[in-house]
Structure formats: C-alpha cells, structure tokens
C-alpha cells in the first residue's frame, strides 16, 4: 500500500517542528532553511499552511530532468533525487508547478521531499496531526468521516 502525506492546514499552529525534523533527517542539523516541507504564515488571515511535494505520478520534475537524476522509489512512490547524477541545472525547479523542488547552494544539487525512504519524520514531529502519513487512496477519509457524521 502506498502512503501519502496528508496536510490539514486548519490544524497547524506554525510551530515549525516539521521543518526541524525534516532538516535534521536530511542534513543532521536543525535548520528550517534546509527543510523540504515549509510552513507559510498568512498573518492577516491568521492561517498557517504546511506545504511540500505531493509526489505527482507524472512528475514534472522527473520528466524535465535532462540527466535522469530524478527517479521513482517503487516502494514509496517518492520521486527521489540522485545527488551524484544531478548536475544542478535547475530545469526541474522551473518545471515543477508547485515550487516544491529547489536548488541548494551548499550542495550544488536540487533537493525535494523523498518521504524519508517511507518513514517520514514530519508527521511524527507534528504535535497537532496537521501532517499525517496515510493510505494514498484515502487521503480524504477523515474529511469524509467528518461530513458523514453531520449527515
């Protein structure tokens, strides 16, 4: 069973524990600047919204890559960057409609969410379950349940 990250912004408090967990897993440091999941604050509206790669099936980044440095992990469905092959051309960052793959100056290659190899850290770090890792076919299950309860 494939799983997906499910994000429910209305539960997010903007604490950035997810950004720390992500950066720590990826770089060994607590460094929100290097996180592949980002939390956006809409101050005037009083809203916090986490956002990251949704692992498109026909991934724009993967198709755009001229050196085939982005590959599918069959076990997780994640589109992963092969850092040894990536040449840092950044074409994928242009191709991605969502902005969730980005160039990293320190490493000179791109980085994106890889679902931590199937055991993602961000949902574990989220204190309010705004980020969960659920059955990819049923990301709407809890919302359906909520509406079902009202019917």
């Amino acid at each position: 069973m494939l799983k997906s990250l499910q994000i429910e912004p209305e539960k997010c408090t903007g604490c950035l524990q997810c950004e720390m967990a992500c950066s720590y897993e990826a770089t060994g440091l607590f460094n929100p600047a290097k996180s592949r999941i980002k939390v956006f604050t809409f101050h005037e509206e009083g809203r916090f919204v986490p956002y990251t790669c949704t692992q498109c099936e026909e991934a724009w980044c993967m198709h755009a890559c001229p050196v085939e440095a982005i590959v599918v992990n069959q076990a997780t469905g994640a589109k992963e960057v092969l850092e040894d092959i990536c040449v840092g051309c950044k074409v994928c960052t242009v191709a991605c409609p969502f902005g969730t793959i980005n160039y990293v100056q320190d490493t000179k290659v791109v980085a994106k969410c890889d679902l931590c190899g199937g055991d993602p850290e961000c949902p574990k770090a989220c204190p309010t379950d705004a980020i969960t890792y659920v059955d990819a076919d049923h990301t709407g299950l809890e919302r359906m349940r909520a509406h079902a309860a009202q019917s």
């Binding site: 408090t13 720390m20 967990a21 440091l29 600047a33 005037e44 009083g46 916090f48």
Partner: protein, 616 residues
C-alpha cells in the same frame, strides 16, 4: 555542546564589529541566555551607569537549547540595565528570531556605546553590518518590519525592532519581534532606542548542531513533548484558551487586580475572559479569537491570533487594523481590562495591537493608565492634562486614547510613558503607584495569593510573575498544592520557583513548559544537548547562582532591603471581597525567613559565605 560558542560584539559608537569566542567557563556556571548574558553584563558595566547612557550595554541572547527540536526552543532574551527600575532588566521573548540568531551561528549579540546616527543591524550568517536607519527611524515596528522585508526581498528575514514609543522615551518600551512577540518588560526597548539602534534583522541558514548526544537528546525531547501533550494545562487549557484560561479562575479566588488594585474581583471578568474570546460577536458572527498559534518549536501553542470587531469605534475608519494580529494574553487582559475597570474586549484588543505596533509593555501601560484613572477620580489629574477626556475607570475611550498617545509619546502620553511610579510622584500621590522597584504589577493580587507577595517583593527585576510563579502551586497545585492564604512555607516555595525559573530562562525554553515539566524533565534535555554535567542538582545550583549574581548587581546598583517591599495598599488595606476578604499581604512574616534561606544578611546582602559558595 549546543552553544555555537560565538559572540557578536557591536560597538555602536565607532561602528566596529567583532567576533569572539563564548566564555565556556562562564557557560558551565551560568548555562546560557538569562544567566550567561547577565554574567557578561555584570562583568562589563558599572552598576551605577545611566541606563539610557552610552555606558550601559544591551545583550540579545539565546540559550543552548534555542533552535533545537526541544519543545518551545525558540526563546531569546534581552539583558541590560533597566531605565524603569534602575536594576537588571531581562526580558524574554518567543516568536522566531531567537532561532534565527542561533541558526546564523551566534549565541549572543553584545551592543555597546551609542550610535551617532540611527542604524539597524543586518545579519546574514557570518556577515553582520550596521546600516543607516533613516527610512525607518520615526516609524512603527510594523512599518519597519514591512520596509526591511521589502528591502531585502526576503520573506524569511526575522526582525526585532523598537517603535515610536521607545524613540519618544517611554520608560517601559519593549523590543517587538515577528510583529507581535515581545521582550516586553522593564524598558529594554527604551535602552535600545537610546543607543540609536532601531532594529535587528537576521537571516540564519547554517543550522543548529553541536548536540552532545544526539540520540539521547531526541529521546529526551520526544518524551518531554509527550508530557506536555498529556498535561491538562499545556495539552488542553493553554491551546484552547491561552493564558486567558486564568481570568475567571483568578477572579473567583479574589486575586484579580481591579481598578488600580483597589479591589480584588472584577464584575466584568467574564466579559474579558478566554471563554469570551470564543463567543461570536453580533456584527459579523466571528469570535475575537481566530486561532491559536505557536512560537518557534512550541508544541503547546498558547498564542492568540485575534481580530477587533470592524464596527468598533476604535477601528471603524481604520481598515489597517481589520486583519488578524497577536491578541490578548492574560497579563495584558488584566492590565488593560480589570485594572482599568474596562470590560470592552475590542478596545482592549485595539490597545494590545498598538502595544505591539509601537512596542510598549501592556502590563506597565495598563497599570499606569489605571493609576492615572485613580488620580483623575481624585482630581489630581484633570481634563486639562487629558485633552478633555474624562479619564475615569471603565472608560474605553480613555484607554484607546491613552494607547494612541503612548504609541507616539504625544500629549498626555509623555506622562503616561513615565510609568506608574513617576506619574504618581509627579501628581503628588506616590502611594497610589502599584509597583515594586518601579515596575508595575502583573495579574495576581498578593492579598489573595500570599506567596506572590514575597515573589514580587524580592524579584530581581521589580514586580514580575515570571521570576517566581508560585501561582502554579498556590492556585493550580503544581507541583503540589499549597494554601494561597497561608504564609508558612512560602519562603522556601518562592526560592525554589525563583531558582528553577532562572534555569528555564537560561536554557532557551519557555516558562510555560513548567506547568507540566519539573526539573526532572528539563535537566535530561539540557544534559543530552550540552557538554558537562547538567543533572537536576547542577541545574538548581546554577539557578541559585544566577539569582545571587543578579541580586549582587542590584545591590551594587543601589537597591537595598527597603526596596524589597510592596505598596502600602497591599500591606495595609484588606481585600474587600472574595475568599481573601479581610486579608492583607503578610510580607513581614515571609521576608526574614527568605533572606535566611538565601544566605543573605538581614539587610538583604549576600554573606561572604554565600558569595564563596557560588564563586561570586
């Protein structure tokens, strides 16, 4: 480790900037943030210097846990000599800038001297530069924030700034970061403005590491987060109602300061409570509270994000205040509400927005307005001073005007910016000032919560709830319930809370964790992150050392045992209603025992033995 071990020193007089290694011997004795920065300050300034002169220094400092995955690990503090109290100021703030400073690779910034012209400090990791602040001097914090974000085209830039109140010399101006978080108390913003320093803008992308034992740290912080999540206060009460969860509780026990502390219960408490913030309003069907919000790394998320009713008289013609911003917390709600006799949530939220927009402490502001209202009702202040406004208890109009005046220092705002002590002296009624060492009281009347009287009287920064929050024990039963009307055992309780708080404030975490965490939860997290021994005993020893260091400085700055007291009203006039009816605060029963437990002389000075014990 966990410290970056780098100190950024900025000489504002000559514009020189240097990097120096953190004194690790001191770090071992004082941990970080509050303790360690105080050690630096004490070593570097004359205790008798003019707080607003170039000889005072101002330190922005993080703790070893700031910027790590520990819950609430985003705290930073500002340490300096206070212009309000004449003794140490140490103001702690959340938001996001503490983490940013740490991520840029710095444990602390020491500002010294005074810039000949207004400047701001821009930091991008290793790079630090002073930049002329002509475009933002004379502007509010919110305008400065917007200008700097636009100028650097960097939405992730984190900014701390002073507002127009600080520039105008208001003695209780704070430093606002991330638009609505504040190093709020004791006039640290006034000191910053006196140095012609408008703002600090930081971008840090280097990462925080140097964790002594990563596996142990992740295990300890994960377990401690679980403790917070499962605790009724940190897991339920604070996220739902914020610190405002206390309004009705404190009112019911007859300890809610009302009308400049003349009374201990407020008939309008329900109207300004955390519960009331959830009630839909008539005009648009929306409640005052939009959502709760977290500071960096915080798994509690007690922050209030609120709106003001658009039809309210304060903002009906001011669309710039129609959006969400940081709303009422309990300390602000009592000061702007019950202490002024005001039960209008919208005018209070408006005043809170202005406190954030132009950087002044809502506690000191509200209490000063309350004192002015009492002076007005006595006839000592008249409509001549107040621009024709009837400055009476309960007046929403007076509160709104006062907030606007103090924001810019215009008109009567100049007097209100003096704080309660100087205002009451100026108008001939010094006894009406509800202050200790010149700083206004927080939201717990010590007639109804006896231990808090001792905590206020002996606090190293004047009246303050965060220096020894015995409310936890006396009201909430944390860690054990003590009788709020009893004085026996309170000296020991106050000392334990004071020493423990000094550790929390020095680690980089938030005081509110201690509703759930004891030192047994906190010490293992520090110990896993930092080199050296950070057992519970070591932490408490460090806390006690910090307390004594602060006291020693304050004594050297001219404070004496005579300053360890409360206003006459709280010592002589009994509470008129409620469970504490008939009671005054029995400070005299607690203070001598406290001095003895501290190892101080009868006149409140460190004995040679105490000095030797802590290496002071």
């Amino acid at each position: 480790m966990a410290w970056t071990k780098n100190v950024l020193r900025i000489n504002l007089t000559d514009g020189s900037i240097s990097k120096e290694p953190l004194n690790m011997e001191w770090a071992n004795d004082y941990l970080g943030q509050r303790g360690l920065a105080t050690k630096y300050l004490v070593e570097e300034i004359d205790p008798n210097c003019d707080a607003l002169g170039p000889d005072n220094k101002l330190i922005m400092t993080t703790g070893p846990l700031t910027g790590t995955m520990v819950s609430t690990g985003g705290r930073y503090s500002v340490v300096t000599k206070s212009p309000l109290t004449g003794v140490l100021a140490c103001s702690n703030s959340g938001g996001f800038i503490g983490n940013e400073l740490k991520n840029a690779g710095w444990d602390m910034i020491i500002f010294e001297g005074k810039s000949p012209k207004p400047v701001y400090l821009y930091i991008e990791n290793e790079k630090a530069e002073l930049v002329p602040a002509d475009e933002i001097w004379g502007k509010s914090v919110w305008e400065a924030d917007e200008y700097l974000h636009k100028k650097y085209q960097d939405p992730l830039l984190r900014i701390a700034a002073v507002g127009r109140s600080a520039e105008a010399g208001c003695l209780y101006s704070g430093i606002i970061n991330d638009l609505h978080r504040a190093a709020g108390r004791s006039g640290v913003g006034t000191v910053m403005a006196s140095k012609n320093l408008k703002a600090v803008a930081i971008r840090g992308t280097r990462g925080v590491g140097n964790i002594q034992d990563s596996a142990a740290f992740m295990k300890a912080t994960t377990e401690a987060k679980k403790v917070l999540a499962e605790n009724a206060v940190t897991g339920e009460g604070l996220p739902a109602l914020g610190t405002q969860v206390l309004m009705n509780v404190i009112n019911e026990m007859g300890a809610l300061p009302t009308r400049n502390m003349k009374e201990v219960q407020f008939e309008g408490a329900g109207d300004i409570s955390g519960e009331a913030m959830l009630e839909p309003r008539e005009s648009d069907g929306k409640p005052n509270l939009t959502t709760n919000a977290a500071c960096f790394g915080c798994t509690i998320a007690c922050g209030r994000i609120s709106t003001i009713d658009r039809t309210h008289f304060t903002i009906e013609n001011k669309p710039e205040y129609w959006g969400n911003s940081g709303g009422l917390e309990f300390e602000a709600a009592f000061a702007l509400g019950s202490d002024c006799g005001v039960n209008d949530m919208d005018v209070m939220t408006y005043a809170q927005f202005l406190c954030n927009e132009d950087g002044y402490d809502p506690i000191s502001f509200g209490c000063t307005v309350a004192a002015a209202m009492e002076l007005f009702e006595l006839g000592a202040i008249t409509t001549k001073e107040t621009d024709g406004i009837e400055f009476k208890f309960g007046s929403a109009e007076a509160l709104a005007k006062a907030a606007e005046w103090v924001a810019t220092g215009e008109g009567f705002g100049k007097d209100l910016g003096l704080g309660s002590k100087r205002l009451c002296e100026k108008y001939g009624h010094p006894d009406l000032s509800m202050t200790v060492k010149g700083q206004e009281f927080p939201a717990y009347d010590p007639r109804g919560i006896q231990g808090m009287g001792l905590a206020y009287a002996t606090s190293n920064r004047g009246a303050c709830h965060l220096r020894g929050y015995t409310v936890a024990s006396e009201v909430l039963g944390i860690p054990v319930k003590t009788d709020p009307l009893e004085t026996d055992g309170k000296a020991e309780l106050v000392k334990a809370f004071q020493d423990g708080s000094a550790v929390v404030d020095s680690a980089g975490i938030c005081a509110f964790t201690t509703f759930a965490w004891s030192m047994e939860d906190i010490a293992p997290q520090i110990d896993a992150a930092c080199e050296g021994d950070w057992s519970v005993d070591k932490c408490m020893e460090v806390g006690e050392r910090i307390w004594n260091l602060e006291r020693d400085f304050n004594n050297a700055a001219g404070m004496t045992a005579a300053d360890d007291t409360l206003p006459k009203r709280l010592l002589k006039d009994a509470a008129n209603v409620g469970p504490a009816k008939g009671r005054v605060n029995d400070l005299g029963k607690m203070l001598p025992e406290y001095y003895e437990l501290r190892g101080w002389t009868a006149d409140g000075k460190l004995t040679d033995e105490t000095r030797a014990r802590f290496g002071l």
